[in-house]
């Protein structure tokens, strides 16, 4: 079982956990959401700033386990600076990886550090941890776009 454990806690995940990228709430934003994982109590407040069809910033304040914290950090790296359409494709790809029960081969071109979460997909109880920030981002971005319209 310790082999599985190493598959879950990849070095990349532990690095992001210890040094999260983009953490903290910043002022420029069009939408802010608060998502919780009711079964375990993990929480995230996440803000999205969209500028001219591009994800200009994602800022967040989160409480939770290493998986949920690292996932938010990777989300920040992957979507900030990307056109919203492209970021949504990445979100969908990450979602498919996490819901694939360990059968989906991750595409490093698209997911970069996100491929480290492939092992998490084999732990059904932890999939929600990895998805918390991504679902919050999708929700906030949809609201930010509505705001723009």
């Amino acid at each position: 079982m310790s082999q599985d454990l190493d598959a879950l806690y990849q070095e990349i995940i532990l690095d992001h956990y210890k040094n999260p990228h983009g953490k903290g709430l910043r002022d420029a934003f069009e939408a802010e959401v608060h998502h919780v994982n009711p079964t375990c109590g993990d929480e995230i407040t996440l803000r999205v700033h969209v500028d001219g069809g591009t994800v200009a910033d994602v800022s967040y304040d989160a409480l939770g386990c290493s998986i949920s914290q690292a996932s938010a950090s990777v989300l920040y790296d992957l979507v900030v600076g990307k056109p919203v359409d492209e970021a949504m494709v990445i979100q969908e790809e990450f979602l498919q990886l996490m819901q694939g029960k360990g059968t989906v081969e991750p595409d490093e071109e698209v997911l970069e550090d996100g491929i480290a979460f492939a092992g998490v997909a084999k732990f059904p109880a932890r999939v929600k941890c990895a998805l918390l920030s991504w679902m919050a981002w999708k929700d906030a971005t949809a609201r930010a776009l509505k705001e723009e319209d």
Binding site: L5, G41, D42, C65, F123
Partner: protein, 431 residues
């Protein structure tokens, strides 16, 4: 193995009664089950009693006019008799079977919400504007939310006892908190998160002085403390007591509500349906006497048989002996946990003041990660808010890791936990 005073003398034999304790993972990794406050494991005798019932005696109860119906009815009602003996109920008809402890507490909160103002001599159970319901900050969500719903619906006010820094109930304002406006005081006997044993006698005494009804959530108490309701002085005895079968080595799907006869008779029915009626006409119905008035529909029959076997099993070992065992293991665990660097126990540190659930924080590692690493070593604990978010908020933590022992827990399993926590620290590269 470490010698501790208070351990069950036949611990190894007790362990053999629980087949699941033989489980291994990856071939040779033994199960270390430290999640009994979540649900307890089941002895063979409970499994056998339920299988035997389903194989040989299964029928619906109280309405089937045949041999099996009579046997099933007797088996179900025997479960009630055993349950009544287990808690020292003054009257066996005061024992109502529910789905779980949550349903038992909701039954009380809902029927109180529906109670009409008393016209006769009985206690006025109706709740309205200006009335108050008192709970505590350490309650399980199942003893918070039903009272929030009740007070919101009736325009009443929900108030609560706070906690001291060492996890005890803050009783400094008891006389102000429980006053002439108080209609209900509902509290846990033993906290599922902090482990604290609450002074229910003192609180019941004060509540009864002002005419309030006392509800005790005994979900964590019933497995480990001897309960003898009939032996309690009337002014210190709760008016209602709830617990669940699956934490007392019984099956899931069955809970228990004990209530004082006078109040149960005065309260309106909870759920309507079969078995809870005296007669039904299209215009209106009359209701059965207690306990059936509160048991609409086909009840959990096999579960009542299993619960009866479970409570007989615990009574046979003896709740005093089980409590002593829990205290010995809890004391040993508290000493061991405090040797782990960066570990902080939430709740009382004196095993005499607490039950067998110990929640803790490990600096630098989130509880989910602690639980995950322990699980990789076969050690089952719980991580999260344990359905006690306000109690966690009181101590400024979002989640914790909880180990909880029971009558089958050995000192060796506590040693495995401590080693597992040291391993967790090294896995997350803490100094």
């Amino acid at each position: 193995m470490t010698q501790l005073t208070g351990l069950l003398p036949e611990l190894e034999i007790v362990r053999k009664d629980f087949p699941i304790l033989e489980r291994t993972f990856d071939g040779d990794l033994p199960l270390v089950y430290l999640d009994s406050a979540n649900t307890s494991q089941k002895p063979q005798i409970v499994i056998d009693a339920m299988v035997d019932h389903l194989e040989r005696h299964n029928a619906n109860i109280a309405r089937a006019m045949h041999h099996l119906g009579a046997e099933a009815t007797e088996a179900f009602e025997n479960g009630r008799d055993t349950t009544a003996r287990f808690i020292g109920a003054p009257d066996r008809d005061e024992v109502i079977f529910t789905k779980n402890a949550s349903e038992a507490l909701n039954l009380v909160a809902n029927t109180l919400a529906w109670a009409r103002p008393s016209t006769g001599s009985g206690t006025d159970l109706s709740i309205g504007e200006g009335d108050e319901v008192v709970i505590t900050e350490l309650e399980h969500h199942s003893n918070i939310v039903p009272w929030q719903l009740l007070t919101e619906r009736k325009g009443a006010k929900l108030r609560w006892f706070g906690l001291t820094d060492d996890g005890q109930l803050d009783l400094s304002n008891i006389d102000e908190l429980i006053n002439e406006r108080t209609k209900v005081v509902s509290l846990a006997w033993v906290s599922n998160m902090l482990g604290t044993i609450l002074p229910i006698a003192a609180i019941a005494r004060r509540a009864h002085q002002v005419g309030a009804v006392v509800v005790v959530d005994a979900s964590q108490a019933a497995p480990q403390l001897p309960i003898d309701l009939a032996a309690m002085p009337v002014e210190e005895r709760p008016d209602f007591l709830a617990f669940t079968g699956h934490k007392t080595v019984g099956p899931t799907g069955i809970g228990v509500l004990w209530g004082r006869r006078e109040l149960l008779e005065q309260l309106p029915p909870f759920l309507g349906g079969g078995e809870m009626i005296a007669t039904v006409r299209m215009e209106a119905s009359t209701y059965a006497g207690i306990p059936h008035k509160f048991e609409a529909g086909t009840p959990p029959i096999a579960e009542a048989v299993g619960l009866g076997a479970a409570l007989e099993y615990l009574a046979h070992i003896g709740l005093d002996a089980i409590h002593a065992h829990e205290q010995a293991i809890t004391g040993y665990a508290l000493r061991g946990l405090q040797t782990v660097k960066g570990l902080k126990v939430l709740g009382p540190l004196d095993p005499a003041l607490r039950g067998g659930a110990i929640s803790f924080e490990l600096d630098g590692v989130h509880p989910h990660d602690v639980a995950q690493v322990l699980d990789s070593r076969g050690i089952a604990v719980r991580a999260g808010h344990h359905c006690a978010k306000p109690a966690h908020a009181r101590f400024g933590v979002q989640a914790s890791t909880r180990m909880s022992s029971y009558l089958y827990t050995t000192p060796g399993e506590i040693d495995a936990l401590i080693e597992g926590l040291e391993y967790t620290r090294s896995y997350f590269k803490l100094d």
